[in-house]
């Protein structure tokens, strides 16, 4: 144990160790500059005159879809078009536009595609109503199946004639004796 720590001290004091340490630092600094630098440059920040505007900005960037990317909102995307839309959004918010006005403005240019929460109306009405309609249809099928099953069960019992009943009974008795 003592030997080990002494060995460590001697290595730490040597010039070789110091050189290695500074090389490590150099490496980490270079890595930071290379990998973190561009990330910092890509995320732009906006100043808002009101905290409420910033909340609306967050909500809208999450709701608006990046036109260039298939499945990313403009908050997550770093495509140039997403950056442009964020800048436009900031500008519109500062000018005092309402959420509805901003969404209309975007939809007028990029179509319904640009909204992750499509408006109620037009073709998208199918999207909004489909879950409820499918649920209703499922209940309908369930009801019909249950009803026809119970009808078949009662009809089945009633349709056995006296003769058949007797035969059934004898078969059952025979099975019991066999076992």
């Amino acid at each position: 144990m003592e030997d080990g720590s002494r060995a460590f001290v001697s290595v730490a004091d040597s010039g070789e160790w110091r050189a290695m340490k500074s090389a490590c630092w150099l490496f980490f600094t270079a890595a930071l500059v290379i990998f973190v630098g561009p990330a910092l440059a890509l995320v732009e920040t906006y100043d808002f005159s009101d905290a409420e505007l910033e909340v609306r900005y967050q909500n809208l960037t999450e709701e608006l879809r990046c036109p260039k990317c298939q499945n990313q909102n403009i908050a997550d995307s770093n495509a140039p078009i997403a950056q442009d839309l964020r800048r436009l959004l900031h500008q519109q918010l500062e000018e005092g536009d309402s959420d509805a006005e901003i969404l209309d403005h975007m939809v007028a240019r990029y179509g319904e595609f640009v909204r992750y929460r499509p408006s109620f109306g037009g073709v998208s009405i199918i999207l909004w109503l489909a879950p409820a309609l499918l649920l209703l249809a499922a209940f309908g099928v369930l009801l019909l199946t249950l009803r026809s099953k119970s009808r078949a069960a009662t009809a089945g019992v009633a349709s056995l004639s006296v003769e058949e009943q007797a035969r059934l009974q004898s078969l059952l008795n025979k099975a019991e004796q066999d076992s």
């Binding site: 298939q70 078009i81 442009d84 007028a108 240019r109 990029y110 179509g111 595609f113």
Partner: protein, 180 residues
């Protein structure tokens, strides 16, 4: 519903689902029709690239024309450039929007590769691009004689696109504007 038909119900449902999904295989999810089809070209007031004066939407009217959104940073624009020159030589009115670009770079590009455009709108900040719903260069808009957008093509315009899509539309619009 007869018991026979009921027996086939799962098969029918499966067939319907299969047809729907099969159709989905050949759809292009990135295809996005422009929201501005059959709408007037958005109003703008932007400088002319390499020249004095401002251009506005009124400068596009008077003939059926192609409006090409391009930039020097756009690799695909370089690919379609030779074909655009061919179209211009055939007398197709072609206007350019130099989208989010540096004027000096754009002028050098036109000097080196040739200039097929009647004029270029310098959209340095991309504001006209936003109003047009541009989401990536190159894009090409077909604008009729009254300045109404009739079609948008996203991506490279080549022989195939021109022959199958743009030219038939261009011809019918030219006939339409000639009749009036």
């Amino acid at each position: 519903m007869g018991p026979r038909l009921k027996l086939f119900l799962p098969l029918i449902l499966f067939a319907m689902l299969a047809i729907t999904l099969f159709r989905g295989l050949s759809l292009d999810p990135s295809e996005m029709p422009s929201a501005l089809i059959d709408r007037p070209f958005p109003a703008f007031n932007l400088p002319r690239l390499g020249g004095p004066g401002l251009l506005s939407q009124a400068d596009l009217e008077g003939q059926v024309s192609l409006l090409n959104v391009w930039a020097t940073w756009c690799v695909a624009c370089r690919v379609e450039h030779p074909y655009l020159k061919q179209l211009a030589q055939r007398g197709i009115p072609l206007f350019g929007i130099n989208y989010k670009d540096n004027d000096a770079d754009a002028e050098r590009w036109l000097d080196e590769l040739g200039d097929p455009y009647r004029f270029n709108i310098a959209d340095r900040e991309g504001t006209l691009g936003l109003d047009l719903g541009v989401y990536g260069a190159p894009e090409t808009y077909l604008v009729d004689a009254k300045g109404v957008i009739r079609y948008r093509h996203v991506g490279v315009v080549d022989e195939g696109v021109w022959k199958t899509v743009l030219e038939p539309l261009y011809q019918s619009l030219t006939v339409e504007s000639g009749a009036q």
